[in-house]
Protein backbone atom coordinates (compact mmCIF):
# COMPACT_ATOMS: atom_id res chain seq x y z
CA UNK A 1 0.00 0.00 0.00
CA UNK A 2 1.24 3.40 -0.95
CA UNK A 3 0.35 6.51 1.04
CA UNK A 4 -0.13 9.78 -0.80
CA UNK A 5 -0.37 12.97 1.19
CA UNK A 6 -1.93 15.67 -0.97
CA UNK A 7 -2.14 19.39 -0.14
CA UNK A 8 -2.72 18.49 3.49
CA UNK A 9 -3.61 21.40 5.77
CA UNK A 10 -4.78 21.52 9.34
CA UNK A 11 -5.97 24.61 11.17
CA UNK A 12 -6.90 24.36 14.84
CA UNK A 13 -9.57 26.65 16.30
CA UNK A 14 -10.18 28.48 13.01
CA UNK A 15 -11.49 32.01 13.47
CA UNK A 16 -10.56 32.21 17.13
CA UNK A 17 -7.79 34.42 18.50
CA UNK A 18 -5.61 31.38 19.10
CA UNK A 19 -6.03 29.94 15.61
CA UNK A 20 -2.99 27.83 14.73
CA UNK A 21 -1.90 26.42 11.42
CA UNK A 22 -0.59 23.02 12.42
CA UNK A 23 -0.07 21.87 8.83
CA UNK A 24 0.25 23.92 5.67
CA UNK A 25 -0.05 22.35 2.24
CA UNK A 26 1.95 19.17 2.78
CA UNK A 27 2.64 16.91 -0.23
CA UNK A 28 4.62 13.68 -0.33
CA UNK A 29 4.31 9.96 -1.04
CA UNK A 30 5.46 6.99 1.00
CA UNK A 31 6.13 3.76 -0.90
CA UNK A 32 5.20 0.31 0.36
CA UNK A 33 8.04 -1.04 2.49
CA UNK A 34 9.76 2.30 2.88
CA UNK A 35 11.27 3.48 6.17
CA UNK A 36 10.49 7.17 6.56
CA UNK A 37 11.89 9.23 9.41
CA UNK A 38 10.04 12.39 10.45
CA UNK A 39 11.94 15.04 12.39
CA UNK A 40 11.02 18.47 13.74
CA UNK A 41 10.58 20.39 16.96
CA UNK A 42 7.75 19.88 19.39
CA UNK A 43 4.89 21.79 17.83
CA UNK A 44 6.25 21.56 14.27
CA UNK A 45 3.22 19.54 13.20
CA UNK A 46 4.79 16.06 13.16
CA UNK A 47 2.20 14.54 15.45
CA UNK A 48 -0.70 16.19 13.64
CA UNK A 49 0.70 14.90 10.35
CA UNK A 50 0.95 11.29 11.44
CA UNK A 51 -2.46 11.42 13.08
CA UNK A 52 -3.93 12.60 9.78
CA UNK A 53 -2.19 9.74 8.00
CA UNK A 54 -3.65 7.30 10.51
CA UNK A 55 -7.10 8.83 9.93
CA UNK A 56 -7.45 9.97 13.53
CA UNK A 57 -7.76 13.61 12.63
CA UNK A 58 -9.76 15.01 9.77
CA UNK A 59 -7.65 17.62 7.97
CA UNK A 60 -9.17 21.02 7.25
CA UNK A 61 -7.74 20.89 3.72
CA UNK A 62 -6.31 18.32 1.31
CA UNK A 63 -6.37 14.57 1.80
CA UNK A 64 -4.45 11.41 2.54
CA UNK A 65 -4.92 8.68 -0.05
CA UNK A 66 -4.11 5.00 0.30
CA UNK A 67 -3.23 3.32 -2.99
CA UNK A 68 -3.68 -0.47 -2.85
CA UNK A 69 -1.49 -2.94 -4.78
CA UNK A 70 -4.13 -3.13 -7.52
CA UNK A 71 -4.18 0.63 -7.90
CA UNK A 72 -7.49 1.35 -6.15
CA UNK A 73 -7.38 4.61 -4.30
CA UNK A 74 -9.19 5.30 -1.04
CA UNK A 75 -9.19 8.59 0.78
CA UNK A 76 -8.26 7.73 4.36
CA UNK A 77 -8.83 11.16 5.78
CA UNK A 78 -12.62 11.19 5.59
CA UNK A 79 -15.51 9.57 7.37
CA UNK A 80 -17.35 6.55 6.06
CA UNK A 81 -17.20 2.78 6.04
CA UNK A 82 -14.70 2.39 3.21
CA UNK A 83 -12.19 4.75 4.75
CA UNK A 84 -12.71 3.06 8.12
CA UNK A 85 -11.68 -0.30 6.59
CA UNK A 86 -8.58 1.07 4.91
CA UNK A 87 -7.57 2.99 8.02
CA UNK A 88 -7.14 -0.32 9.77
CA UNK A 89 -4.16 -1.04 7.58
CA UNK A 90 -2.42 1.98 9.10
CA UNK A 91 -1.27 1.22 12.64
CA UNK A 92 -0.04 3.92 14.98
CA UNK A 93 1.95 3.53 18.19
CA UNK A 94 1.75 6.65 20.35
CA UNK A 95 4.39 8.01 22.71
CA UNK A 96 4.61 6.05 25.94
CA UNK A 97 2.12 3.46 24.59
CA UNK A 98 2.44 1.40 27.76
CA UNK A 99 0.23 3.93 29.56
CA UNK A 100 -2.60 2.77 27.32
CA UNK A 101 -2.64 -0.84 28.44
CA UNK A 102 -5.89 -1.62 30.21
CA UNK A 103 -6.92 -5.28 30.06
CA UNK A 104 -6.32 -7.76 32.86
CA UNK A 105 -3.98 -9.93 30.84
CA UNK A 106 -1.38 -9.35 28.16
CA UNK A 107 -3.27 -11.67 25.78
CA UNK A 108 -6.58 -9.83 26.21
CA UNK A 109 -4.93 -6.49 25.67
CA UNK A 110 -3.27 -7.55 22.43
CA UNK A 111 -6.59 -9.07 21.28
CA UNK A 112 -8.39 -5.72 21.64
CA UNK A 113 -7.64 -4.66 18.06
CA UNK A 114 -8.45 -7.97 16.35
CA UNK A 115 -11.63 -8.17 18.44
CA UNK A 116 -12.71 -4.77 17.14
CA UNK A 117 -11.98 -6.03 13.64
CA UNK A 118 -14.67 -8.64 14.26
CA UNK A 119 -12.42 -11.70 14.13
CA UNK A 120 -13.33 -14.97 15.83
CA UNK A 121 -11.79 -15.72 19.19
CA UNK A 122 -9.38 -18.28 17.73
CA UNK A 123 -8.28 -15.86 15.06
CA UNK A 124 -7.82 -13.13 17.67
CA UNK A 125 -5.56 -15.36 19.71
CA UNK A 126 -3.58 -16.47 16.67
CA UNK A 127 -3.06 -12.83 15.71
CA UNK A 128 -2.04 -11.92 19.26
CA UNK A 129 0.46 -14.78 19.45
CA UNK A 130 2.04 -13.80 16.19
CA UNK A 131 2.25 -10.14 17.24
CA UNK A 132 3.75 -10.98 20.62
CA UNK A 133 6.23 -13.22 18.86
CA UNK A 134 7.23 -10.33 16.60
CA UNK A 135 8.03 -8.09 19.54
CA UNK A 136 9.91 -10.85 21.32
CA UNK A 137 7.43 -11.64 24.10
CA UNK A 138 6.73 -15.29 24.78
CA UNK A 139 2.93 -15.65 24.72
CA UNK A 140 3.02 -18.89 26.73
CA UNK A 141 5.01 -17.31 29.53
CA UNK A 142 3.54 -13.84 29.67
CA UNK A 143 0.16 -14.21 27.94
CA UNK A 144 -1.81 -14.61 31.13
CA UNK A 145 0.25 -12.13 33.16
CA UNK A 146 -1.14 -8.72 34.03
CA UNK A 147 0.44 -6.05 31.83
CA UNK A 148 1.10 -4.07 35.00
CA UNK A 149 3.46 -6.75 36.33
CA UNK A 150 5.84 -6.43 33.37
CA UNK A 151 8.96 -4.30 33.23
CA UNK A 152 8.83 -0.94 31.46
CA UNK A 153 10.45 -2.24 28.28
CA UNK A 154 8.19 -5.30 28.15
CA UNK A 155 5.07 -3.17 28.65
CA UNK A 156 6.08 -1.08 25.67
CA UNK A 157 6.57 -4.19 23.54
CA UNK A 158 3.15 -5.50 24.51
CA UNK A 159 1.63 -2.15 23.56
CA UNK A 160 3.35 -2.30 20.17
CA UNK A 161 2.13 -5.89 19.74
CA UNK A 162 -1.40 -4.57 20.31
CA UNK A 163 -1.04 -2.51 17.15
CA UNK A 164 0.80 -5.19 15.17
CA UNK A 165 -2.01 -7.67 15.91
CA UNK A 166 -4.20 -5.65 13.56
CA UNK A 167 -1.71 -6.58 10.81
CA UNK A 168 -1.26 -3.10 9.43
CA UNK A 169 0.72 -2.59 6.26
CA UNK A 170 1.89 0.80 7.49
CA UNK A 171 3.24 1.19 11.01
CA UNK A 172 3.64 4.67 12.46
CA UNK A 173 5.70 5.03 15.63
CA UNK A 174 5.81 8.28 17.59
CA UNK A 175 9.02 8.41 19.64
CA UNK A 176 9.02 4.70 20.42
CA UNK A 177 12.24 4.87 22.43
CA UNK A 178 11.40 7.83 24.69
CA UNK A 179 12.47 7.27 28.27
CA UNK A 180 14.30 4.01 27.64
CA UNK A 181 17.89 3.32 28.65
CA UNK A 182 20.51 2.96 25.87
CA UNK A 183 20.09 -0.79 25.64
CA UNK A 184 16.28 -0.67 25.62
CA UNK A 185 16.52 2.03 22.98
CA UNK A 186 18.69 -0.06 20.65
CA UNK A 187 16.56 -3.16 21.24
CA UNK A 188 13.35 -1.43 20.18
CA UNK A 189 14.92 0.01 17.03
CA UNK A 190 16.39 -3.34 16.05
CA UNK A 191 13.00 -4.89 16.63
CA UNK A 192 11.37 -2.33 14.32
CA UNK A 193 13.98 -3.00 11.65
CA UNK A 194 13.36 -6.74 11.94
CA UNK A 195 9.58 -6.41 11.73
CA UNK A 196 9.94 -4.26 8.69
CA UNK A 197 12.10 -6.80 6.89
CA UNK A 198 9.99 -9.80 7.90
CA UNK A 199 6.64 -8.22 7.02
CA UNK A 200 7.70 -5.78 4.32
CA UNK A 201 5.89 -3.18 6.39
CA UNK A 202 6.08 0.55 5.72
CA UNK A 203 7.57 2.26 8.75
CA UNK A 204 7.03 5.91 9.63
CA UNK A 205 9.22 6.83 12.58
CA UNK A 206 8.78 10.15 14.36
CA UNK A 207 11.95 10.82 16.27
CA UNK A 208 14.04 13.48 17.96
CA UNK A 209 17.11 11.33 17.69
CA UNK A 210 18.95 12.29 14.51
CA UNK A 211 21.44 9.45 14.83
CA UNK A 212 18.61 6.92 14.80
CA UNK A 213 16.93 8.54 11.83
CA UNK A 214 20.23 8.69 9.92
CA UNK A 215 20.93 5.06 10.62
CA UNK A 216 17.52 3.48 10.07
CA UNK A 217 15.51 5.61 7.67
CA UNK A 218 15.53 5.44 3.86
CA UNK A 219 14.25 8.99 3.67
CA UNK A 220 13.94 11.82 6.14
CA UNK A 221 11.14 14.37 6.26
CA UNK A 222 11.84 17.53 8.23
CA UNK A 223 8.92 19.61 9.48
CA UNK A 224 9.12 23.21 10.61
CA UNK A 225 6.20 25.27 11.88
CA UNK A 226 3.62 23.23 10.01
CA UNK A 227 5.50 23.18 6.73
CA UNK A 228 7.40 20.43 5.01
CA UNK A 229 10.92 21.84 5.08
CA UNK A 230 13.04 19.03 3.65
CA UNK A 231 12.50 15.57 2.23
CA UNK A 232 15.29 13.33 1.02
CA UNK A 233 17.75 10.60 1.93
CA UNK A 234 19.53 11.04 5.27
CA UNK A 235 22.63 12.09 3.35
CA UNK A 236 20.78 14.72 1.37
CA UNK A 237 18.97 16.11 4.39
CA UNK A 238 21.74 16.01 6.98
CA UNK A 239 24.77 16.71 4.80
CA UNK A 240 23.55 18.92 2.01
CA UNK A 241 20.99 20.90 3.99
CA UNK A 242 22.54 21.07 7.41
CA UNK A 243 22.60 24.86 7.36
CA UNK A 244 18.82 24.93 6.95
CA UNK A 245 18.33 22.45 9.78
CA UNK A 246 20.59 24.51 12.00
CA UNK A 247 18.83 27.72 11.12
CA UNK A 248 15.59 26.37 12.61
CA UNK A 249 17.49 24.96 15.57
CA UNK A 250 17.24 21.29 14.66
CA UNK A 251 19.98 18.83 15.48
CA UNK A 252 22.03 16.90 12.98
CA UNK A 253 23.59 13.47 13.67
CA UNK A 254 26.68 13.36 15.90
CA UNK A 255 29.13 12.75 13.04
CA UNK A 256 28.33 15.72 10.79
CA UNK A 257 27.68 17.85 13.88
CA UNK A 258 31.20 17.19 15.08
CA UNK A 259 32.75 17.78 11.67
CA UNK A 260 30.89 21.06 11.52
CA UNK A 261 32.21 21.97 14.95
CA UNK A 262 35.79 21.35 13.77
CA UNK A 263 35.23 23.29 10.58
CA UNK A 264 33.78 26.16 12.56
CA UNK A 265 36.95 26.21 14.65
CA UNK A 266 39.05 26.56 11.51
CA UNK A 267 39.98 23.01 10.61
CA UNK A 268 39.97 22.42 6.88
CA UNK A 269 37.78 19.40 6.17
CA UNK A 270 34.77 18.20 4.26
CA UNK A 271 31.72 17.92 6.52
CA UNK A 272 29.64 15.82 4.12
CA UNK A 273 29.96 12.57 6.01
CA UNK A 274 27.21 10.81 7.85
CA UNK A 275 28.35 7.56 9.41
CA UNK A 276 30.70 7.24 12.35
CA UNK A 277 33.38 5.50 10.25
CA UNK A 278 33.34 8.11 7.50
CA UNK A 279 33.48 10.89 10.08
CA UNK A 280 36.50 9.34 11.80
CA UNK A 281 38.27 8.75 8.48
CA UNK A 282 37.71 12.33 7.40
CA UNK A 283 39.16 13.70 10.65
CA UNK A 284 42.16 11.40 10.43
CA UNK A 285 42.71 12.47 6.82
CA UNK A 286 42.46 16.16 7.74
CA UNK A 287 44.82 15.85 10.68
CA UNK A 288 47.45 13.86 8.84
CA UNK A 289 47.41 16.12 5.81
Amino acid sequence: MQIKVENLSMIYSPGLPYETKALEDINFTVQQGEFLGIIGHTGSGKTTLVQCIAGLLAPTGGQVVAVAEDGTETVISQKGKEAFQVRRSVGIVFQYPEYQLFEETVMKDVCFGPKNQGLSEDEQKARAREALDLVGINADEKGEASPFDLSGGQKRRVAIAGVLAMQPSVLILDEPTAGLDPKGHDDILEMIRRIRTEKNMTIILVSHNMDDVAEYADRVLAMDRGKLMLLGTPREVFCEHEEELRSVGLDIPAGPAFLWMLKDRGLDLDDNHLSFDDTADEIIRALKK
Binding site: S151, L180, F276, A280, A286
Partner: protein
Protein backbone atom coordinates in the same frame (compact mmCIF):
# COMPACT_ATOMS: atom_id res chain seq x y z
CA UNK B 1 40.99 19.30 49.16
CA UNK B 2 39.32 18.92 52.53
CA UNK B 3 36.26 16.72 52.44
CA UNK B 4 33.03 18.68 52.93
CA UNK B 5 30.12 16.45 52.02
CA UNK B 6 26.60 17.81 51.70
CA UNK B 7 25.10 14.34 51.38
CA UNK B 8 26.45 11.19 53.01
CA UNK B 9 25.06 7.73 52.33
CA UNK B 10 26.03 5.06 54.81
CA UNK B 11 25.23 1.52 53.74
CA UNK B 12 21.80 2.53 52.48
CA UNK B 13 19.29 -0.15 51.50
CA UNK B 14 15.68 0.27 50.53
CA UNK B 15 12.96 -2.27 49.83
CA UNK B 16 9.48 -1.36 48.64
CA UNK B 17 6.77 -2.98 50.72
CA UNK B 18 5.64 -6.06 48.93
CA UNK B 19 2.51 -6.95 50.85
CA UNK B 20 2.36 -8.81 54.11
CA UNK B 21 2.92 -12.36 52.98
CA UNK B 22 6.46 -11.58 51.83
CA UNK B 23 9.05 -11.95 54.55
CA UNK B 24 11.19 -8.81 54.95
CA UNK B 25 14.39 -10.62 54.01
CA UNK B 26 12.77 -11.87 50.80
CA UNK B 27 11.64 -8.42 49.67
CA UNK B 28 13.50 -7.18 46.62
CA UNK B 29 15.88 -4.41 47.50
CA UNK B 30 15.61 -1.53 45.05
CA UNK B 31 18.71 -0.05 46.69
CA UNK B 32 21.17 -2.45 48.23
CA UNK B 33 23.99 -1.38 50.53
CA UNK B 34 24.98 1.89 48.88
CA UNK B 35 27.61 4.15 50.47
CA UNK B 36 29.11 7.34 49.09
CA UNK B 37 29.48 11.04 49.86
CA UNK B 38 28.54 13.93 47.62
CA UNK B 39 30.95 16.86 47.99
CA UNK B 40 29.54 20.35 48.35
CA UNK B 41 29.66 22.15 45.01
CA UNK B 42 30.35 19.05 42.96
CA UNK B 43 28.51 17.78 39.87
CA UNK B 44 27.67 14.09 40.11
CA UNK B 45 25.93 12.06 37.42
CA UNK B 46 24.15 8.83 38.30
CA UNK B 47 23.53 6.43 35.40
CA UNK B 48 22.18 2.92 35.09
CA UNK B 49 19.60 0.94 33.16
CA UNK B 50 15.85 1.15 33.79
CA UNK B 51 15.14 -0.51 37.10
CA UNK B 52 18.69 -0.21 38.43
CA UNK B 53 17.48 1.68 41.49
CA UNK B 54 18.83 5.10 40.63
CA UNK B 55 15.52 6.94 40.95
CA UNK B 56 14.76 5.20 44.23
CA UNK B 57 18.19 6.19 45.47
CA UNK B 58 17.63 9.81 44.40
CA UNK B 59 14.51 10.06 46.54
CA UNK B 60 16.69 9.41 49.58
CA UNK B 61 18.66 12.60 49.05
CA UNK B 62 15.79 14.80 50.23
CA UNK B 63 13.98 12.47 52.61
CA UNK B 64 11.20 11.57 50.18
CA UNK B 65 12.20 8.04 51.05
CA UNK B 66 13.81 6.89 54.28
CA UNK B 67 16.23 3.96 54.03
CA UNK B 68 15.00 0.65 55.40
CA UNK B 69 18.62 0.01 56.43
CA UNK B 70 21.58 2.33 56.85
CA UNK B 71 21.37 6.11 57.05
CA UNK B 72 21.44 9.25 54.93
CA UNK B 73 22.92 12.48 56.28
CA UNK B 74 22.08 15.76 54.57
CA UNK B 75 24.29 18.57 55.80
CA UNK B 76 24.85 16.50 58.92
CA UNK B 77 21.12 15.86 59.56
CA UNK B 78 19.92 12.29 59.63
CA UNK B 79 16.98 12.10 57.22
CA UNK B 80 15.22 9.40 59.25
CA UNK B 81 15.14 11.69 62.30
CA UNK B 82 14.33 14.96 60.57
CA UNK B 83 11.60 13.38 58.41
CA UNK B 84 9.59 12.70 61.56
CA UNK B 85 9.43 16.33 62.55
CA UNK B 86 10.40 18.74 59.80
CA UNK B 87 11.40 17.13 56.47
CA UNK B 88 11.16 20.52 54.78
CA UNK B 89 14.38 21.56 56.50
CA UNK B 90 16.13 18.98 54.33
CA UNK B 91 14.04 19.62 51.24
CA UNK B 92 14.83 23.30 51.13
CA UNK B 93 18.52 22.40 51.12
CA UNK B 94 18.15 19.66 48.52
CA UNK B 95 15.67 20.51 45.78
CA UNK B 96 14.46 18.01 43.22
CA UNK B 97 13.37 18.20 39.59
CA UNK B 98 11.45 15.21 38.25
CA UNK B 99 11.16 13.52 34.88
CA UNK B 100 7.63 14.42 33.86
CA UNK B 101 7.39 18.19 33.42
CA UNK B 102 3.60 18.15 33.46
CA UNK B 103 3.05 16.32 36.70
CA UNK B 104 5.15 18.50 38.97
CA UNK B 105 3.58 21.90 38.38
CA UNK B 106 0.95 22.75 40.98
CA UNK B 107 -0.54 26.01 39.84
CA UNK B 108 -2.25 27.08 36.65
CA UNK B 109 -0.18 30.29 36.53
CA UNK B 110 3.56 30.06 35.97
CA UNK B 111 4.67 32.63 38.57
CA UNK B 112 2.34 31.24 41.21
CA UNK B 113 3.79 27.83 40.62
CA UNK B 114 7.31 29.13 41.13
CA UNK B 115 6.14 30.79 44.36
CA UNK B 116 4.79 27.50 45.71
CA UNK B 117 8.05 26.31 47.32
CA UNK B 118 9.01 29.61 49.00
CA UNK B 119 5.43 29.98 50.26
CA UNK B 120 5.65 26.57 51.87
CA UNK B 121 8.75 27.51 53.82
CA UNK B 122 7.22 30.74 55.02
CA UNK B 123 9.29 33.36 53.18
CA UNK B 124 8.11 37.00 53.34
CA UNK B 125 5.86 38.01 50.39
CA UNK B 126 8.23 40.67 49.04
CA UNK B 127 11.16 38.28 49.18
CA UNK B 128 9.09 35.59 47.41
CA UNK B 129 8.34 38.08 44.63
CA UNK B 130 12.05 38.87 44.27
CA UNK B 131 13.04 35.20 44.22
CA UNK B 132 10.31 34.27 41.75
CA UNK B 133 11.38 36.97 39.32
CA UNK B 134 15.04 36.11 39.72
CA UNK B 135 14.51 32.37 39.19
CA UNK B 136 12.28 32.91 36.18
CA UNK B 137 14.92 35.16 34.64
CA UNK B 138 17.61 32.59 35.34
CA UNK B 139 15.73 29.92 33.38
CA UNK B 140 14.71 32.41 30.68
CA UNK B 141 10.97 32.18 31.30
CA UNK B 142 10.29 35.59 32.83
CA UNK B 143 8.21 36.78 29.89
CA UNK B 144 5.96 33.74 30.24
CA UNK B 145 5.26 34.34 33.94
CA UNK B 146 1.54 35.02 33.53
CA UNK B 147 0.83 32.05 31.28
CA UNK B 148 -0.74 28.72 32.06
CA UNK B 149 1.55 25.68 31.98
CA UNK B 150 -0.69 23.85 29.51
CA UNK B 151 0.26 26.44 26.88
CA UNK B 152 3.99 25.75 27.21
CA UNK B 153 6.24 23.13 25.60
CA UNK B 154 7.72 20.29 27.64
CA UNK B 155 11.09 22.02 27.80
CA UNK B 156 9.52 25.26 28.97
CA UNK B 157 7.52 23.45 31.64
CA UNK B 158 10.67 21.77 32.84
CA UNK B 159 12.35 25.18 33.10
CA UNK B 160 9.44 26.36 35.25
CA UNK B 161 9.89 23.31 37.46
CA UNK B 162 13.58 24.19 37.85
CA UNK B 163 12.71 27.82 38.65
CA UNK B 164 10.32 26.55 41.32
CA UNK B 165 13.14 24.65 42.94
CA UNK B 166 15.69 27.48 42.61
CA UNK B 167 13.23 29.88 44.27
CA UNK B 168 13.72 27.87 47.48
CA UNK B 169 17.45 28.64 47.13
CA UNK B 170 18.64 25.07 47.71
CA UNK B 171 22.31 24.25 48.09
CA UNK B 172 21.91 21.10 46.07
CA UNK B 173 19.58 20.25 43.18
CA UNK B 174 18.79 16.66 42.25
CA UNK B 175 17.63 16.16 38.67
CA UNK B 176 15.83 12.85 38.11
CA UNK B 177 16.01 12.24 34.34
CA UNK B 178 14.97 15.83 33.63
CA UNK B 179 15.45 15.54 29.86
CA UNK B 180 13.96 12.09 29.22
CA UNK B 181 10.69 13.47 27.88
CA UNK B 182 12.09 16.48 26.01
CA UNK B 183 13.13 17.18 22.43
CA UNK B 184 16.80 18.00 21.64
CA UNK B 185 16.21 21.73 21.95
CA UNK B 186 14.59 21.31 25.36
CA UNK B 187 17.40 19.01 26.43
CA UNK B 188 20.05 21.55 25.50
CA UNK B 189 18.27 24.30 27.39
CA UNK B 190 17.99 22.18 30.52
CA UNK B 191 21.64 21.16 30.33
CA UNK B 192 22.70 24.77 29.98
CA UNK B 193 20.67 25.70 33.09
CA UNK B 194 22.28 22.80 34.96
CA UNK B 195 25.72 24.14 34.02
CA UNK B 196 24.74 27.61 35.24
CA UNK B 197 23.54 26.25 38.57
CA UNK B 198 26.75 24.32 39.02
CA UNK B 199 28.83 27.39 38.16
CA UNK B 200 26.93 29.30 40.87
CA UNK B 201 28.46 26.89 43.34
CA UNK B 202 25.41 24.69 43.82
CA UNK B 203 25.80 20.96 44.12
CA UNK B 204 24.20 19.16 41.17
CA UNK B 205 23.18 15.51 41.08
CA UNK B 206 22.00 14.47 37.62
CA UNK B 207 20.32 11.15 36.97
CA UNK B 208 20.26 10.42 33.25
CA UNK B 209 20.24 7.89 30.45
CA UNK B 210 22.16 10.16 28.13
CA UNK B 211 25.89 9.55 28.34
CA UNK B 212 26.66 12.84 26.61
CA UNK B 213 25.01 14.56 29.57
CA UNK B 214 26.75 12.40 32.16
CA UNK B 215 30.10 13.18 30.52
CA UNK B 216 29.78 16.79 31.67
CA UNK B 217 29.83 15.82 35.34
CA UNK B 218 32.92 15.73 37.62
CA UNK B 219 32.03 12.23 38.65
CA UNK B 220 29.84 9.38 37.39
CA UNK B 221 28.23 6.76 39.58
CA UNK B 222 26.89 3.68 37.81
CA UNK B 223 24.05 1.82 39.48
CA UNK B 224 23.26 -1.79 38.68
CA UNK B 225 20.68 -3.96 40.47
CA UNK B 226 20.52 -1.53 43.36
CA UNK B 227 24.27 -1.47 43.92
CA UNK B 228 27.01 0.95 42.98
CA UNK B 229 28.86 -0.72 40.12
CA UNK B 230 31.39 2.01 39.51
CA UNK B 231 32.18 5.45 40.89
CA UNK B 232 34.88 7.48 39.13
CA UNK B 233 35.59 10.42 36.84
CA UNK B 234 33.96 10.33 33.39
CA UNK B 235 37.35 9.69 31.77
CA UNK B 236 37.96 6.64 33.94
CA UNK B 237 34.41 5.35 33.57
CA UNK B 238 34.41 5.59 29.80
CA UNK B 239 37.80 3.94 29.44
CA UNK B 240 36.64 0.85 31.34
CA UNK B 241 35.40 -1.97 29.16
CA UNK B 242 33.73 -4.09 31.82
CA UNK B 243 30.73 -1.79 32.29
CA UNK B 244 28.03 -3.49 30.26
CA UNK B 245 25.11 -1.07 30.63
CA UNK B 246 27.02 1.86 29.26
CA UNK B 247 26.96 3.36 25.86
CA UNK B 248 30.05 5.44 25.28
CA UNK B 249 29.57 9.05 24.24
CA UNK B 250 30.39 9.96 20.67
CA UNK B 251 33.56 11.87 21.65
CA UNK B 252 34.93 8.90 23.58
CA UNK B 253 34.34 6.50 20.69
CA UNK B 254 35.87 8.93 18.25
CA UNK B 255 38.91 9.55 20.46
CA UNK B 256 39.46 5.81 20.65
CA UNK B 257 39.34 5.50 16.87
CA UNK B 258 41.80 8.39 16.50
CA UNK B 259 44.21 6.77 18.95
CA UNK B 260 44.05 3.54 16.97
CA UNK B 261 45.21 5.38 13.90
CA UNK B 262 48.09 6.99 15.72
CA UNK B 263 46.66 10.36 16.76
CA UNK B 264 47.31 11.00 20.41
CA UNK B 265 44.27 12.02 22.43
CA UNK B 266 44.43 12.42 26.22
CA UNK B 267 42.18 10.08 28.21
CA UNK B 268 40.38 12.87 30.05
CA UNK B 269 38.66 14.10 26.88
CA UNK B 270 35.05 12.94 27.04
CA UNK B 271 32.87 15.66 25.52
CA UNK B 272 32.54 16.90 21.92
CA UNK B 273 33.67 20.40 22.82
CA UNK B 274 36.78 19.16 24.63
CA UNK B 275 37.72 16.94 21.70
CA UNK B 276 37.09 19.61 19.08
CA UNK B 277 39.19 22.14 20.95
CA UNK B 278 41.99 19.64 21.41
CA UNK B 279 42.03 18.54 17.76
CA UNK B 280 42.08 22.10 16.51
CA UNK B 281 45.12 22.84 18.64
CA UNK B 282 46.91 19.85 17.06
CA UNK B 283 46.72 21.32 13.63
Amino acid sequence: MASDPIIQLKNVSFAYEQGEEVAPEAAVKAVDGVSFDVERGSFVAIVGSNGSGKSTLAKHFNALLIPTEGEVLVDGMNTAEVAETAPWEIRQKVGMVFQNPDNQLVSSIVEDDVAFGPENIGIEPAEIRRRVDESLKLVGMYEHRKKGPHLLSGGQKQRIAIAGVIAMDPECVVFDEPTAMLDPKGRKEIMSIIRTLHSQGRTVILITHFMEEAAEADRIIIMHNGKVEADATPAEIFSRKDLGVLEQPFAVRLAKRLRESGIEVPADIVTDVQLAEYLCKLK
